[in-house]
């Protein structure tokens, strides 16, 4: 499917509009839920960390440090991607699957259009903007943590911000975004595959969406493990 995606490209004037539409559907349309989840999960990470520090010898800056590490390394890139496998992945599978069931893909093929290029390529390009979503998740996760810390009275703003800056390794940002790009590729291709090659009717579209969510999540977890092993160990 991936090789086929680059053969017989669709006219650029048409492709441009498809890419913009997919950026709107997949990226812009996900910002609301990403912002909401990131903000509150950031807050929860901070509260959990603060509540588990009962030794007075442990500095309060650790709360900010732990929040930053959790959000930057795992929550924003990996767990947000699993959430996106449900939102974006299901959307991709069901929209392409419905086109398969209602013969819209056959209509494209009959017209001599490379349907894989027409349907999947714009999604792949749109998902190249996925790191933008994840950077917003990182930012709002930390802000959520800061808010929870201040309003919960777990540490002072200075302590939290000092913790955020402590032992900062810039490579962790690169590591997070390398993972994010890999996840973006998975999020665009696995759901497209399940939608494109599905057979049957409306019920099977639902089944294909579920299957695609499961396989996308599995792929994300495995890639996460391999990327961590390769890049950080």
């Amino acid at each position: 499917m991936i090789i086929e995606m680059f053969r017989k490209p669709t006219k650029w004037s048409v492709m441009k509009e498809l890419i913009l539409k997919d950026i709107d559907d997949l990226i812009i349309g996900s910002l609301g839920i990403v912002a909401f989840i990131a903000f509150f999960v950031g807050g929860v990470v901070t509260i959990q960390t603060a509540l588990n520090i009962d030794n007075p010898l442990i500095p309060k800056e650790l709360i900010g440090f732990a929040t930053r590490q959790s959000i930057l390394l795992e929550f924003a890139p990996t767990f947000m991607s699993i959430i996106m496998a449900g939102k974006v992945g299901s959307f991709i599978t069901s929209s392409i699957g419905t086109m398969r069931v209602t013969e819209q893909i056959d209509a494209l093929e009959v017209m001599g259009i490379n349907s894989i290029n027409y349907l999947v390529f714009p999604k792949l390009i749109a998902m190249a903007f996925y790191p933008f979503v994840i950077s917003i998740a990182m930012f709002l996760g930390v802000i959520g943590g800061l808010m929870a810390c201040i309003y919960g009275g777990y540490a002072s703003t200075d302590d939290f911000i000092t913790g955020l800056q402590q032992e900062f390794n810039p490579f962790h940002i690169s590591y997070a975004f390398i993972k994010t790009f890999l996840f973006a590729f998975v999020l665009a291709t696995i759901p497209s595959y399940h939608g494109y090659y599905m057979k049957g009717g409306a019920l099977e579209v639902g089944e294909a969406s579920t299957t695609s969510f499961v396989w996308t999540s599995v792929a994300i977890i495995i890639i996460n493990y391999l990327a961590t092993q390769l890049l950080l160990s």
Binding site: T10, K11, T102, E103, Q104, D106, V110, M111, G112
Partner: protein, 255 residues
């Protein structure tokens, strides 16, 4: 003209098309009829190049489709219009955008020229007021007419229709039949229709092929179908009492 020679198609052990040869003429409505499971849809999909076949050949005006390069196949497909059983309109596009779609893909017309051409074709199928509607807002008959408009907007040389009347009321079905017939004659298109609607057969069947179990069992025109003694055909076509009576009346009148 489309010429099919000795076409064989199997799915695993199941031999679906067993050596079909047939000519589909330009400017005529060529009908493929037969019971469900007789191989009509598989045959149509072979004609469209959606299925590969094991043996035989399909020639579009003397050119064997399977032997064409990918680029030439794409050029050939740009000359094909298709009306699908379920219309297959693109959900995310308005009716006007659906009709403009082949123009956007295959021509270098400006947006205004495309819109103008789409309006002409939509007028031709009596849908001049539906431009901005989404396909989901259109009735089954309207969707079929939009599908016909989309199929003819780029002046195709070949028009394929898969069960164009399925799910339509008898009055709308006749409108669709007549529309396809008129367009075929007007634009000198080679039209191939896959149907088991006997009204269509009687109304617009210039050249009819009857398929049974993957074999061409009969060929003729809508007039021939009244006179034929082929039992397989008469059992299928005149399975209803009404058609039996119509046939008897026509034969009596012709004597």
């Amino acid at each position: 003209m489309i010429e099919v020679k000795n076409l064989h198609k199997s799915f695993g052990e199941a031999h679906i098309l067993k050596g079909i040869s047939q000519t589909f003429y330009q400017g005529k409505t060529n009908l493929i009829i037969g019971q469900s499971g007789s191989g009509k849809s598989v045959f149509l999909k072979c004609l469209l190049g959606l299925y590969d076949y094991e043996e035989g050949s399909i020639e579009y005006d003397g050119e064997v489709f399977a032997n064409l390069s990918e680029d030439k196949k794409r050029d050939m497909r740009a000359k094909i219009g298709m009306v699908f059983q379920g219309s297959a309109l693109f959900d995310s596009l308005t009716i006007e955008e659906n009709v403009m779609f082949p123009l956007r893909m295959f021509t270098k017309l400006t947006k205004n020229d495309m819109r103008e051409r789409a309006n002409i074709v939509l007028k031709r199928v009596n849908l001049e007021d539906a431009h901005k509607k989404m396909p989901s807002e259109a009735s089954g008959g309207m969707q079929k007419r939009v599908a016909i408009a989309r199929a003819i907007v780029n002046n195709p040389k070949y028009l394929f229709c898969d069960e164009p009347n399925s799910g339509l009321d008898p009055k709308t079905a006749i409108v669709i039949d007549n529309l396809i017939h008129e367009i075929t004659e007007e634009y000198k298109i080679t039209t191939v229709i896959n149907t088991h609607d006997m009204n269509s057969v009687m109304e617009i069947g210039d050249n009819i092929m009857f398929l049974k179990d993957g074999i061409k069992a009969w060929e003729g025109t809508k007039d021939d179908i009244f006179r034929t003694d082929n039992k397989v055909v008469t059992d299928f076509v005149y399975s209803s009492n009404l058609f039996k009576k119509v046939r008897e009346a026509v034969l009596k009148e012709n004597k």
